[in-house]
């Protein structure tokens, strides 16, 4: 088992070094000058008004369907399927907005961390701005999520030559500045899609498992983690974007529900 873990983790470690390439390759899926499938809900955070967007943004669909009081079976089903299969691997490996944050995060500026509890703001954003406000006040309300979304400003408004409203511009500017000084600020603090995938991390087929018996307290995982070096060193929990940077350490492996766990310490 230890040998198998060693082999699989070295494969994963090697693969992890190419994560940027994988994220960039997925851009070819989300951005297409020819293909428009806006009747299909995509699994990533990417504005459907982007001139090159292939699919519809799932958060935009949830918010708009909440405004018209129609249950979005397709959007919810899509998110459940991707969430159960992959969890927040989508965030770490596939999402174009995550790629933007990773690219800007590589710029050598001083990096700061925010308190861990701020990760729960994602659920507030999901519950209030994506679901409740559209449901009670409609899509015309200034706090309707799409009227504030920085992805919409960067990917849709500016490429289409229109200037976003003041609130959206301010939020976009703050998030862009934050990207220079904190890794993945949108994902770890505000992203409603990350909130959904994070919840499904606990039940996903593939997950990151921590082996405490192999841990030597080297803090490699905390140093490499873009989510504030999760203090409990419990990779794979709801705030994790599953970038697999921590899997460089042999105490953390990628497993599936079909593998036997030696200990109960699998954490989603």
């Amino acid at each position: 088992m230890a040998n198998k873990n060693k082999k699989s983790e070295s494969l994963v470690s090697r693969f992890t070094r190419r994560r940027s390439w994988v994220q960039t390759a997925f851009l070819l899926v989300w951005l297409s000058p020819w293909l428009r499938l806006h009747s299909v809900c995509g699994p990533v955070f990417h504005c459907y008004s982007c001139p090159l967007a292939t699919f519809a943004c799932p958060i935009g669909v949830l918010a708009n369907f909440s405004a018209i009081h129609v249950f979005p079976f397709v959007a919810v089903g899509t998110l459940v399927i991707f969430g159960v299969l992959l969890g927040s691997f989508v965030c770490g490996w596939v999402c174009p907005f995550g790629l933007l944050q990773d690219m800007i995060g590589r710029i050598p500026t001083p990096k700061f961390e925010l308190p861990v509890w701020m990760g729960n703001l994602r659920y507030v954003v999901l519950a209030v701005f994506v679901l409740a406000i559209p449901f009670w006040y409609g899509e015309e309300h200034p706090l309707f999520f799409c009227s504030l979304c920085p992805a919409g400003a960067l990917e849709a408004a500016l490429p289409n030559g229109s200037w976003p409203n003041t609130a959206k511009t301010t939020i976009t500017a703050l998030v862009l500045v934050a990207m220079f000084f904190k890794r993945r600020p949108w994902c770890t603090v505000f992203c409603p899609l990350g909130a959904i995938y994070g919840l499904l991390n606990r039940v996903s087929v593939f997950f990151v498992q921590f082996h405490p018996e192999l841990c030597t307290d080297c803090d490699l995982c905390r140093g490499r983690c873009p989510c504030g070096g999760i203090a409990e060193r419990r990779a794979g929990e709801h705030r994790c974007v599953r970038c697999l940077e921590c899997v460089q350490c042999r105490a953390l492996t990628v497993d599936s529900v079909f593998q036997r766990a030696e200990k109960q310490e699998d954490v989603g």
Binding site: I68, A75, G152, A156
Partner: protein, 118 residues
């Protein structure tokens, strides 16, 4: 083996639920959306005419005055049965809203807008 089955049950149930939800939404779910279409119509209103009595001689012919032609705008309400994938596409450019009556209403007629209004 029992542990694997236990761990796989919840993901399997959720996955099945997700697949069923997508199939139901894509294949069977239909929502009525009303569209108000403004139609321009020309109507002719005949003008009443009664010749004065002193002109009523046998054999006399008085052509009636030409009718008044008016252009009126009529609002037709058409109900579309829209499947959910089409509804997803419609909301991406703000093409559907909820009317005060609770019905879904199309916000445009004819060519759809190209961008989401937000």
């Amino acid at each position: 083996m029992g542990k694997i089955i236990k761990r796989a049950i919840l993901p399997a149930v959720l996955l099945t639920g997700g697949i069923v939800s997508v199939i139901y939404g894509a294949r069977y779910r239909i929502s009525p959306v009303i569209e108000e279409r403004k139609v321009e119509e020309q109507i002719t209103i005949p003008q009443p005419f009664e010749p004065p009595p002193f002109m009523m001689q046998p054999g006399a012919f008085f052509p009636p005055p030409p009718p008044i032609v008016e252009t009126v705008i009529r609002t037709d309400v058409v109900t579309h049965q829209v499947p959910e994938p089409a509804l997803i596409r419609e909301v991406t450019f703000g093409g559907v809203t909820r009317a005060d009556s609770g019905d879904l209403k199309r916000t445009y007629s004819g060519k759809p807008p190209s961008l989401c209004p937000t």
